[in-house]
Amino acid sequence: MLMQLTLGGFAQGAIYALIALSLTVVYRSTTVVNFGHGDFVMAGAFLSYVLVVLAGIAFLPAAVLAMIAMFVLGVFFSKGLIRPIRGGPHIGLALMCISAGYILRGIARMVWGREVLPMPPVFDIEPIFLGNLVVTGDAVFIIGTVFVLLVVFFGLLGLTDLGKMVQAVYQSPRGARLIGLNVERFNDFSWGVGAALGALGGILVAPISLLHPDLGASFLIKGFAAMTLGGFGSLGGAVLGGILLGLAEQYAGAYIDSALIEITAYVFIVLVLFIRPHGLFGRKAVVKV
Amino acid sequence: MSELLQVNGLSVRFSGLTALDDVTFTLEEGAVRAVIGPNGAGKSTLFNAISGYVTPTSGTVHLKGQELTKLTPHEIAEQGVRRTFQNGGLFPALTVLENVLTGLHAQIEGSFLDILLGRSKALKSEAENIHRARELLKLMSMDHMADTRAGDLSGGQQRIVEIVRTVASDPPVLLLDEPAVGLSPVARAQMMEIIHRLAGEKGVGILLIEHAVELVMAAADRILVMAAGARIAEGTPDEIREDRAVLEAYLGHS
């Protein structure tokens, strides 16, 4: 039982980790929190659905295509809607993100109406039995994909100049500009990466859940919860926070009450912010007078 | 002259770093005391500690014998120690008149409920204080700007409005954090005159951080020189000009 829950928690947590990570990528390089990110996740799921079910493309190429499309969308969003209001107050930026999310959601609902769509199973392989533990193909696929992606992501950050660029832009956009970095283009790129990674989260959940235009909202909250838990703005913290949230949901749902699965994330957000605002792994922010 | 502000052994330490080290001085009615020193000398920390924005590690601050040390910034302001800010503390989206009125917040009567229901008690006090604010602006020849957004004023006008706002409630003690920074020579002269008038005519005790040497020498009765958080000299402008410790602090050991 415990092992089964842990496996399920890891699979779920891997997706949260991905969403939290993609939010953090955008936040760290642009200081904008994408309040419409849930709908980017939803859009990724829908695009893969369209490509697989309606266009008849195999799942893997469809997933890659959907991510590329979302990357482009992210870049255009940054160029067209975020740049013009960058100098303005945070409220404007937050609202812009929310409205972008709504536009995506509106389009999804216009095309699909109020239906709930099941995606055909992708990895329809026989589950493996390890004693009492049932290991499904989906779980292996999700955990495996996210793991490989994290290795590549952190590898790129650690081994190339990309990591230093992210750090430079995060700490001082002006400084980064002075040393010749094109901060605007870097921001556009980060929005693209964030949108593509978020979309991958949606693509991965698509085969194991029902699709509907509102599915983004809960993922947004889970992403926030994971970010908050791991320390807002920390890339590694976002991943760990996501896994912890996935596990906590499974355990709370099984051992306490299944209705708790839905609100574990909310409870985490409220508790963490009130008790330890810098998260489990983040450093305490210093407030300047 | 009676003593207004007594600062006694005031120290501030941030995680091992001593930002303010055992500073003691008094400020009398109508006195202008300048605080000078190189960057990082602890001048701003001194202001922040007196006005409650930084909690002192040890030492006390008294106003007319009443302890201020444990109070919050708004309580200290209400007791009568008011300050300006180095980077300008005006509210850009509010008009000049509205800015000055925020300085009279504690003077305007009427509870939340009085205001909510539009009771005459609150309205009367509001009208009286608007009148007072307009009079103050007139004194500074700023009354024609009353309805201009503060953010649209020139740098010098902003400084003046900030001072009007800060002294509107007639505080006995005023802390001015670099009031002349970025001002034209004409505006500087005007600022000097304002400082003299506040101290001379109204008896306000003024503590002044300033880098412009000629302003300090001309405006201050006494000068407190700080370096590395501590007081290294104190005296009249003439005494300070001759002080070896001051020269060393500014020029380094030669």
Binding site: V267 | H74, L94
Partner: protein, 327 residues
Amino acid sequence: MSTTMPTSRQRSLRTWAFWAVPVLLLLTPLATNAYTQFIVNGMLISILVTLGFTLVIGNLGQLAFANTAFFGIGAYASAILSAKLGLPWIMTIPLAGALGALGGFLASSAALRGIRSYYLAIITLAFGELMRWAYLHTKPLTGGTDGLPLPRETMFGISLSDDTLKFYIFLAVTAVLVKATLNLLRSRFGRAVMAVRENEVATASLAIPTARVILTTFIWSGFLVGCAGALFARHVGHVFPESFGMLHLIASFAMVLVGGLGSVLGAVLGAVVLTALPEYLRAFPGMEELFFGLIVAAVLVAMPMGLASLLRRLSPIFVERYYREES
């Protein structure tokens, strides 16, 4: 840019106009059909919701998204108190307001603990979703997904399902609360609220208790929106959890922004303009979201100060001042 201020004649004209509007509105039932009346009633509710929201995000400048939660709390409080405790609906309005105020108090306690900016946005968003979860999972009290119908009731011998009667009640509540909010804003309190937005550190140096200002703004905002919730419960006659979700939030945002952030006039304009339109969009799935999303994006880029700023350019009558010289 130098702003022209209204002359005293224009000012007294404005005072007249403020009271003339509701008086003229009193006559609307004579000129409308039932459907239009229903929409006008909805506008009156939206005005309060938008006003409560703009106070916090516009005047106080805090990124708090709990407005929809206050609205839901007010609506459910009203429905539960009338359906389960048998209270006359009219009495549930102040009680719903009080519970909304309590919600405001909770949200401000987060802000006062230093949870600001994006953190505040996230925690208040979570608060709203937590409330929706609570409506769904406390079936005996809220009816869960089935929602909770309000009992039949009469006032002055007229059924409370009558839209004309509701209109007069809503109009009275909204006019009084808008007037009270104007009183607040055009006083030392209103100036302090905006001072906190502009520069919180400097505000404290003026003997203004910033924490109390933040607390009070959230509480008043919660009160306004809680009262609006009670009106809404009677307006639709049956409260469902879905009414208090993200769609309501984006609609409120759109109203705040289209009218003009931090402006009472803007709140009224935004609510009036944007309450009617979606009624016609509802038949097409997705159009509401698309519409509000596009409107907010367009306003942010092209007209950040909203419709109120256009009116201000037309005449100084529409300039909002935060002091009151006449006593």
